[in-house]
Amino acid sequence: MEIIKELLFGFSVALTPMNIFYCFLGVLVGTLVGVLPGVGPPAALALLLPATFYVPPASAVILLAGIMYGAMYGGSTTSILVNIPGEAASVITCLDGYQMARKGRAGPALGISAFGSFIAGTISIFLLILLAPTLARFALRFGPPEYFALMVLGLSILVYLAKGSIINALIMVCFGLLLGTIGLDPLTGVPRFVYKITTLMDGIGLVQVVIGLFGISEVLLNVEKTFKQEIFETKIKGLLPNREDWKRSIGPIGRGTFIGFFLGVIPGMSVVIPTFVSYVMEKKISKHPEKFGTGVIEGVAGPESANNAASSGTLVPTLSLGIPTGASTALLLGALMMHGLRPGPLLIKESPEVFWGVVASLYVGNVMLLILNLPLIGLWVKILKVPYHFLFSLIVLFCIIGSYVTNNNPYDVVIMVIFGFIGYAMKKFDFEAAPLVLALVLGPMMENAFRRSLVISDGNLWVFFKRPLSAIFIVIALFILFSPLFLRKGRLSEDLRSD
């Protein structure tokens, strides 16, 4: 088969000592950088992009791809250990991963995260190879109406995300949507809710919000009372996932992989969304949904796999069509261009060693990540043993650095602090952060897609239903939103009774 030959060729490129070294370097640096809160793949790539100038093209891309994966994995480490999302996509991992850490199960959480990512990565690379051209063409079918419909579908899933009061979750969604409108309106250039504050012109950064809402608020919650009990359980219950964990995780990993990969293919789809979808799906399918949020391993296995698979998915349009799907792939393309390569449909013909070398090194990178990170689990877990009255100061420092480094803007840190306080208050009054974050991510995309659709259709609202793909999404969304009303008494009445 043609493809096997190409793949072997790719491996021959990827497995040269020099490229193995670059792959390892990329994965190592990516992990370390990714552990830093707020510094996710785009920031990591940006930091090291200049360094790649002096390196041959294939090696440079291998290095960068390794960084991307490494950062993606590193991000989950802090989510699990200290409830600080390493980057936006790791937010969901905080929900159950951190709770597992508090119960002394940080090791299994980290472990299943590593294994899940590895399995997802491996599977999705094969999907990439087999399906890239078809998928890329499919991705092109997404015009503004399809995006809008998809976003509506995404929001409707929120109904299942909320642990507590639905009304409160919906209010958080509205809050998130409103926050998303802050900044220069992309369609008309009008400043909205900016009030002459320069930093706000670009809107409120997701990274800063997330670090504040999750990281700082957790610190505040922990220091407000005296440390009577240990924040983390001192007896560490095992370093790796046990049999039971594996049994419960295999399903989520598989489902997460497919959700992540296929959603990641859509250009502009933030990597955050597949993780949310995976979490909600696992919760819905699970036999004990009420346990989600207290430290169930499915809540880590699924999203982490989706995370990694989505990263591979975003490479599909990037490598086969030369279309950037997000910040990381845009940087990757930039790096390719800096080396005089021409990303796009011609890449595979003109520079096959780059294309196949990269694909093969993705696999090599995944293997390295696993080998690198498993032993590190022991190290990370030891960090939790550091007394909290010292640890928290480091956490605060990292939060500050993480929110500063994205834009080198000190006011970003101020925003982070504000949201830290907001997150703290929210926890006290029973409002959840996850719906807020999802709305903040989806809101702008949804609004822009809606308005563009109307411009293209000259104001005709039926455009969403006349096109097959968007009609399907909207129907599914409506079904998800309203089915509980028919099937059961629905959560609203539960709201009324319980607290």
Binding site: L45, A46, L49, P50, F53, A139, L140, R141, F142, G143, P144, L184, P186, L187, T188, G189, V190, P191, K196, T198, T199, M201, D202, P267, G268, P317, L321, G322, I323, P324, A327, A330, L331, L332, L333, G334, A335, M337, M338, G340, R342, P343, G344, P345, L346, L347, N407, N408, N409, N448, R452, V455, I456, D458
Partner: protein
């Protein structure tokens, strides 16, 4: 007692050495330390790539090191404003693109500074060009086809742009006036977002810069109908310009320049002008930037400022005529 004196003496010595460390600019020994160029856009973008590719040569010709710092946001305003208030000692400069300097102020009210008068214009280095493109399946094979259809069907054609206040967006409006047609702009978040929409047939045409559309063009998936410059791009001799087709007003490129805080000593500005001219004549540099489709175009600081200001007046006039009133409150 002695110990006290020793401590005091030590502190005084420390203070003196701190004061001595504070550099003040004099062109003879400029640059004495690393020169920081703030790129007000995200890394990996067109502007960022330009500066990173020339940083080495610039540094050599300047006789010092250049460090690039990215401060994205607000279409370039956030990063540029951080330089406006910096010390005018020549160690903090900013990449100044012409669209940040003359388009953004027209589209965004209440900017924290005056882009024409609150900055020292140091030099212009290069330009990058913009295009109007369609996908290969499109019925429009030439610019004339597009215009003919647009004449017959006002407001029917939808063309994507990288966003309100970008140069291609302006190009669309200028072209509308020049060709007397009404093509409807649909704003996206950058050229990268426009291309898949174009390829998927969701919009009829795209007004964007070269980098996003280049690989599609080379692969035969898209057609570039024209570029918006006076002369044809040296690397693309087959693509006509709107100018040569008779649309004399539709000449608009984005200039890549260097600016600094107000009050920069003229000796430093002069030194930079020499360095810029020398670097942009260097064939190595020219071939590097051509890989990314920039065209070298050197201008001295004051000429650059005049060009930017003149363009701004032209745009203002155009916007009034076209009835574009962005940033307007109800």
């Amino acid at each position: 007692m002695l110990k006290n004196l020793a401590v005091k003496g030590y502190i005084i010595i420390l203070l003196i050495s701190f004061i001595l460390c504070i550099n003040y600019a004099s062109a003879q020994d400029y640059p004495k330390a690393t020169v920081q160029i703030v790129v007000p856009f995200a890394p990996g973008g067109a502007t960022d790539i330009f500066w990173r590719s020339v940083a080495d040569s610039l540094g050599k010709n300047l006789g010092g090191t250049i460090a690039i710092l990215n401060k994205p946001g607000g279409g370039g305003i956030v990063g540029t404003s951080s330089v406006v208030n910096a010390k005018p000692d020549g160690y903090t400069l900013a990449a100044g693109n012409s669209d940040t300097l003359n388009l953004t102020p027209l589209f965004t009210r209440d900017l924290p500074f005056d882009t024409i008068n609150d900055l020292t214009y140091i030099a212009k280095f290069a330009i990058f060009l913009h295009t109007v493109a369609v996908r290969t399946e499109s019925p429009f094979k030439t610019l004339e086809d597009l215009v003919a259809y647009a004449h017959a069907n006002p407001k029917k054609l939808k063309a994507g742009t990288p966003g309100v206040g970008t140069t291609p967006y302006m190009a669309l409006h200028i072209f509308n006036q020049d060709a007397k047609v009404e093509i409807v702009p649909v704003a996206f978040g950058g050229g990268g977002e426009v291309v898949p929409q174009l390829l998927g047939g969701h919009i009829d045409a795209a007004f964007i810069s070269i980098p996003p559309i280049k690989s599609q063009y080379l692969a035969g998936k898209a057609r570039i109908l024209a570029m918006f410059s006076e002369k044809r791009h040296p690397a693309y001799p087959d693509i006509p310009t709107a100018f040569e087709k008779g649309y004399k007003k539709t000449v608009i490129t984005t200039g890549i320049g260097l600016v600094g805080p107000k009050g920069l000593p003229s000796s430093i500005v002069k030194k930079w002008e020499e360095v810029a001219e020398k670097t942009m004549k260097d064939p190595n540099v020219i071939s590097t930037i051509q890989k990314f489709d920039y065209v070298a175009d050197f201008k001295r600081g004051e000429d650059f400022r005049k060009e930017v200001a003149d363009e701004m007046a032209f745009f203002k006039d155009l916007m009034q005529k076209a009835g574009i009133k962005p940033g307007a409150k109800k």
